[in-house]
Symmetry: C2
Subunit: 111 residues, 2 copies
């Protein structure tokens, strides 16, 4: 069991779910906020701030990167992560888009 049925849904729904999934852990929310608030890229500083081991933070960063919400560049021994604004904006638009259009139909709800 536990067959992968996700591909049976529309690619739009899959994409939305995938963005949501990237944001579905408080550590990743915190990382996104940190990267955006900082005036410069952050690397090992994230590890200092978060209550997680270095390897775990690295894992979360990789997930954000694979979801396309963050991009990383190597700078000497250090790694520099930044928000991928192009994709984050797409994410924002898709979410606000779907949620707002749903919100317009609010009056019809029955219970």
């Amino acid at each position: 069991m536990a067959l992968n049925k996700k591909e049976d849904f529309s690619s739009k729904d899959q994409e939305l779910a995938s963005f949501a999934k990237a944001l579905s852990h408080p550590a990743r929310i915190a990382i996104i906020k940190l990267l955006a608030q900082q005036n410069s890229c952050i690397c090992g500083e994230i590890v200092e701030v978060l209550p997680l081991a270095q390897s775990t933070v690295s894992q979360h960063l990789k997930e954000l990167q694979m979801a396309g919400l963050v991009k990383g560049t190597i700078d000497g021994t250090k790694s520099c992560y930044c928000i991928n604004w192009e994709n984050l904006e797409k994410c924002i638009q898709e979410f606000t888009g779907i949620l707002n259009t749903l919100d317009e139909q609010k009056t019809i709800a029955c219970c």
Copy 2:
């Protein structure tokens, strides 16, 4: 291992992550869309539309309900699920809020 570290993050971040998690599966995105688009509450019709077994759909509905995005009422042998607009709006606001304020800081990104 696999200790639960989620509680070490701010309650705001936890709440956001929890909303995101509820939307992190395409089946639940599809259910939310269905419930909003339909002029009346849907119950077993969701099962007809989704490529999943009845028990699996029921499980997803329960998750949406526990996340507060959906509410259900019993109507005879049938169950009626509706969007919980109060909470969905809160969810919308939190997401657009955080994402838009992040977006305002876009110019400072370095890579």
